[in-house]
């Protein structure tokens, strides 16, 4: 443990990923579930950057993947929040257990 290497950062991102998974499984509220998804996506980004830096320093591919993931996460968050606001208008609740508009 003399130097911070790839494994340290992979441990960090693995723990962050499973914190996100725990939040996604326990929360029943759409906004907090969206926050858990953001944590999961961020742990993936940390992995891409770490692999790019420590294993494939001759390329920039990990950097590009991180940039595209951040962009798509922003688009996803915008659409998800639009859906949440619409759902709140129609059913006055954003609890996933109350959402039954599409139930057959």
């Amino acid at each position: 443990m003399n130097e911070i290497g790839l494994t340290h950062i992979l441990f960090l991102s693995a723990i962050l990923f499973f914190i996100g998974v725990y939040g996604f499984l326990t929360r029943r509220n759409m906004v907090t579930m969206l926050m858990s998804i953001e944590l999961i996506l961020n742990s993936v980004n940390i992995n891409f950057v770490a692999f790019n830096k420590f294993l494939h320093a001759g390329k920039l591919d990990g950097t590009f993947f991180t940039i595209f993931i951040i962009t798509i996460a922003a688009a996803e968050a915008a659409v998800a929040i639009a859906i949440i606001i619409h759902l709140y208008r129609s059913s006055k609740s954003i609890d996933v257990n109350d959402a039954d508009l599409m139930k057959f």
Binding site: H8, I9, I72, I81, I83
Partner: protein
């Protein structure tokens, strides 16, 4: 213990502490603020790894964009001072066990795997190098995904406006 190791552990504790508090906080607004700290720690980690451009993008898009959007949506949909409904005890126990065991498996896998680094000369992730490769039309350029992502952003923009529009009241 050199300064670099100390800084890494401080950043890691900010990231993980913020993350844990964000998924367990009782009030939803506090949860969003803890998420902000966690994302800030991740931006710090990118600075620590010398990826300044990614760190700047992280701050601008995540902290300046997504967290603000989440806070706005909280204000539009919640009485943010009230406590949230507590999750069921059985669901907390099962989820925590699943997360801990899966995390232990992944960590033991990482611990036993020997990674082989490339010997090619390193490209510095500067803004110049990133920009040149991203907009290049040669074999290793990323111009096509760049354009596709711009279409995706336009579609998401129009889509979210259409979805969140107030339905017209019938006169």
């Amino acid at each position: 213990m050199s300064a670099s190791i100390v800084i890494f552990y401080i950043l890691a504790s900010i990231i993980l502490g913020g993350g844990i508090l964000a998924v367990t906080a009782k009030k939803i607004f506090r949860s969003a603020i803890y998420l902000l700290f966690s994302l800030m720690g991740i931006a710090g980690l990118y600075f620590y790894l010398n990826y300044e451009f990614i760190a700047a993008v992280q701050i601008v898009v995540y902290i300046g964009g997504i967290v603000v959007l989440i806070i706005f949506s909280i204000f539009l949909t919640h009485a943010s001072g009230k406590d949230m409904e507590k999750p069921k005890l059985i669901s907390v126990i099962v989820s925590a066990l699943a997360a801990v065991f899966a995390c232990a498996i992944v960590i033991s896998l990482i611990n036993n795997y020997s990674f082989v680094a490339t010997t090619n000369t390193a490209i510095e992730p500067t803004v110049k190098n990133i920009g040149r490769q991203m907009l290049s039309t040669t074999e290793h350029g990323f111009i096509l995904p760049f354009e596709v992502v711009s279409m995706l952003l336009l579609a998401a923009l129009i889509g979210s406006i259409v979805i969140a529009l107030k339905p017209k009241t019938e006169a």
